[in-house]
């Protein structure tokens, strides 16, 4: 498949190739229970809620911790997070992603203990000093365990081999890879034996994967696809001129519409504001989430949830889930324009790689 393949060509040729190959259904089977939608995760046999609870914690609640952890949460912060997770489970969310680097294994194990047959636990090998055996002791087994890798090297294969063996020993149900590097993801599809699923950045601005080599290959192989960064690490919130006071991106507040930027983009911002005004019950973030929810090749969309009102918004975006409406598409287009005119500055410095690697 040519690297220069266009989106239109992919949609025409790729989808027919997929259906002819008969390898897998490009649209994961989907059903609704209560207000939640569930889709099959690749060929794992597991059904995951379309909205998943991400691992990131509220930066305001973090306290520095001794290695191998980076941070832990304050008592109040932990209580708030536990409350949000419980609320998410009540909504039907069944996939909980947990970072031990933020000291979350133990609290998460405590919360899921009585729901272990209904909740899927997702972990990552984000730190080689963390002992996965500790995770198995805490959770019994781990449903999804992924390797986080940014570049291909022999250590990736060794780490992957360890995950495979743990799966063969019955400690893990599905093993996956998370990466922000499309080349690595594409290579992984061929090189990583037993790959069940992939975490990759996907949002309406950084959706280059629509017509890349990686996505059609992954779909053909029946790999479960999990979208991360559906709100570009919260930065999309900052594109919304009507963003709720106090709402903030994950790491820092970007004064996108402050005095420095707003005068430069009056026409684009006016167009975005006009578009958003046509959907008074919906924020730009909700439209962005619905864009991701609407991609049938995705099994679930995982987003960092660390504010209770954001959780409610995310759920509302899901329960009103349908094909994006014309006014939503117009708003997303307008937001794309604003983001493009802003350059990479609309993103938190930590996430400017999204622009470099994944811009549509």
């Amino acid at each position: 498949m040519s690297e220069l393949m266009t989106r239109r060509f992919f949609l025409a040729a790729g989808s027919s190739a997929i259906s002819l190959s008969g390898a897998s259904d490009p649209n994961p089977s989907e059903y609704q229970r209560g207000g939640m939608i569930y889709r099959r995760l690749g060929q794992t046999g597991m059904d995951v809620s379309l909205l998943a609870f991400g691992s990131h914690t509220d930066p305001a609640d973090r306290i520095r911790a001794a290695p191998p952890r980076k941070n832990v949460l304050s008592a109040d912060g932990q209580a708030r997070r536990d409350r949000m997770i419980t609320r998410a489970f009540d909504m039907g969310v069944n996939l909980l992603d947990v970072y031990e680097e933020e000291g979350q294994w133990e609290p998460a194990a405590r919360i899921v203990k009585d729901r272990r047959n209904r909740v899927l636990v997702s972990l990552a090998t984000e730190n080689p000093y963390l002992d996965p055996e500790q995770a198995f002791r805490l959770f019994g087994h781990v449903d999804l365990y992924r390797l986080q890798a940014q570049q291909s090297n022999p250590a990736v294969l060794e780490s992957w081999d360890r995950l495979r063996k743990a799966k063969e020993a019955g400690k893990i149900r599905a093993i996956g890879l998370a990466s922000h590097d499309e080349r690595l993801l594409t290579t992984a599809l061929d090189e990583l034996e037993g790959l069940d699923y992939i975490f990759f950045p996907y949002n309406f601005i950084h959706a280059r994967g629509d017509y890349s080599r990686f996505l059609p290959l992954a779909i053909t192989k029946g790999i479960g696809l999990i979208a991360m960064k559906p709100l570009a690490s919260g930065s999309i919130m900052q594109l919304d001129p009507r963003a709720r006071p106090g709402a903030k991106p994950e790491f820092e507040r970007l004064q996108l519409f402050g005095s420095r930027v707003r005068p430069v983009l009056p026409a684009a911002v006016a167009e975005l504001t006009k578009s958003l005004d046509r959907m008074p019950d919906e924020t730009l973030c909700m439209a962005a989430l619905r864009f991701a929810f609407g991609q049938r090749f995705l099994s679930t969309v995982i987003t960092g949830i660390f504010q209770e009102d954001l959780l409610e918004d995310d759920y509302r975006a899901l329960t009103t889930y349908r094909q994006t409406r014309p006014e939503e598409r117009a708003a997303l287009d307008a937001a794309r324009t604003v983001a493009r005119l802003c350059g990479p500055e609309w993103l938190s410095p930590h996430y400017r790689w999204l622009e470099e690697q994944w811009r549509s």
Binding site: E133, L157, E158, D161, R162, K165, E168, G170, E193
Partner: protein
């Protein structure tokens, strides 16, 4: 067809006195297919003692579900494995002989009839000519055993050969003849015999050394064993497998041995940081590298026959020796002779480095004739035994790991196997 089958069953039932079909009712779902076995079981003491199919074969749920018979029963013990199972209940052994082994030499697997009770196979029912041959056979066998006990191997071999003439194809006579032939000419091409200790069943030297390379190998005398484990999904179901006698490396192939044969050392753990490197196992070798190694060895050593063990052979040896993990979760491999040998004389069957097997990764039951021992193709190949960095629960004789045949990793090595040379 159905009528014919019904008529056949009616005849069988009436002949065997099972017209009431009670054994079939008692045998339940098993009786749907295993008609003859159920009839045999129906006339046995096991039935009277309410010892049903599952007592020996397990629940065999997968086998019952699978109408194509791809899934074998949980257990189908034969030979030594069957005798071990008998001992679970008959703990004092045979009521008459007190023997605890070789139950099936007298007792049928299912019918379990009294061997002294006249039956269709009894001497009285045999034609006269056949009876004469049988008596001659028994005489030669007895004579052969006496000569063997006196160490007169050549004469014993002749006696067993005569026995075989009377009963061509008798397995026991053939094995005894082969064992005596080996004992009369114990030298094995390409091997130096380390100790003058021989396996009584096969007549083969228990410990040998590879001529020119001094690679020690021990005899795994072969037999039947229960392969697999319910503990791991890929190791299910547990099933009975038979392996022929073979030699297996006492140690994993070391870096020095690899260097001597291949002229280069690919291992990740070598250099000044590892003063014991020469005695450490070679690693960072792929399955294809391992095959190149055995090819090179076969060219250099008279008689050849070196190869990787099949995964059945590997598991047989690990179970026979009672291998136990000594260390786990280490940073690097250790010298191959650091740890004590297991009951078979093998070191580090569990731990140190993973060992490539010849077998392709396929679902159980293990059947060497189904193509899994093919040398061609790019299919995943089995590794066994666990490595230095693995947690202890992966260091299990039944645990199977599979890897691409081209992949080199710093914890994958090999152990040498060799066919037993034919008796001369």
């Amino acid at each position: 067809m159905a009528l014919l089958m019904a008529a056949f069953l009616a005849i069988v039932f009436s002949l065997t006195g099972f017209a009431q079909q009670e054994p079939f009712q008692e045998a339940g779902v098993c009786a749907r297919c295993h008609v003859i076995s159920v009839i045999e079981w129906g006339m046995s003491g096991h039935r009277r003692a309410s010892t049903g199919c599952t007592a020996c074969h397990g629940s065999s749920a997968g086998h019952i579900r699978d109408e194509r018979n791809n899934v074998k029963p949980d257990r189908a013990p034969k030979g030594a494995a069957a005798s071990e199972l008998c001992a679970d209940c008959h703990q004092t052994g045979c009521p008459k002989t007190a023997e605890k082994a070789g139950c099936q030499t007298c007792h049928h697997y299912h019918a379990l009839v009294d061997p002294e009770r006249p039956a269709t196979t009894s001497a009285a029912a045999r034609p006269t000519g056949s009876e004469a041959r049988w008596q001659a056979f028994a005489k030669f066998m007895e004579e052969g055993e006496k000569l063997a006990q006196m160490g007169q191997w050549a004469q014993a071999r002749t006696a067993f050969q005569n026995a075989l003439r009377e009963e061509p194809g008798d397995r026991r006579a053939a094995l005894r003849m082969e064992a005596c032939a080996r004992r009369s000419k114990p030298d094995l091409p390409g091997f130096e015999i380390v100790e003058k200790e021989f396996d009584p069943g096969t007549g083969l030297a228990r410990r040998v050394r590879l001529a020119g390379f001094h690679i020690p190998m021990v005899l795994a005398a072969g037999g039947e064993f229960e392969m697999g484990s319910d503990r791991y999904e890929a190791a299910r179901p547990v099933h009975t497998v038979s392996v022929r006698p073979f030699y297996l490396g006492e140690y994993e192939i070391t870096q020095a041995e690899w260097l001597a044969v291949m002229g280069a050392n690919p291992s990740a753990h070598q250099g000044d940081a590892y003063p014991d490197a020469a005695r450490m196992p070679v690693e960072e070798v792929s399955w294809e590298d391992a095959q190149a190694f055995v090819r090179a060895l076969n060219e250099k050593v008279p008689g050849g026959g070196f190869r990787l063990p099949t995964e059945a052979e590997w598991e047989f040896a690990a179970r026979k020796g009672g291998a136990e993990p000594v260390t786990s979760a280490a940073q690097s491999p250790h010298a191959v002779d650091r740890n004590r040998a297991d009951g078979l004389g093998l070191h580090d069957m569990l731990g140190n480095v993973w060992e490539w097997c010849s077998s392709v990764s396929r679902r159980y039951p293990f059947d060497p004739a189904d193509g899994r021992e093919s040398a061609d193709g790019s299919s995943l190949r089995i590794l066994r035994g666990g490595g230095y960095a693995d947690p202890v629960d992966l260091l299990d004789p039944a645990f199977r790991h599979a890897e691409r045949p081209t992949r080199r990793l710093p914890y994958n090595g090999l152990r040498l196997a060799r066919d037993v040379p034919a008796a001369r």
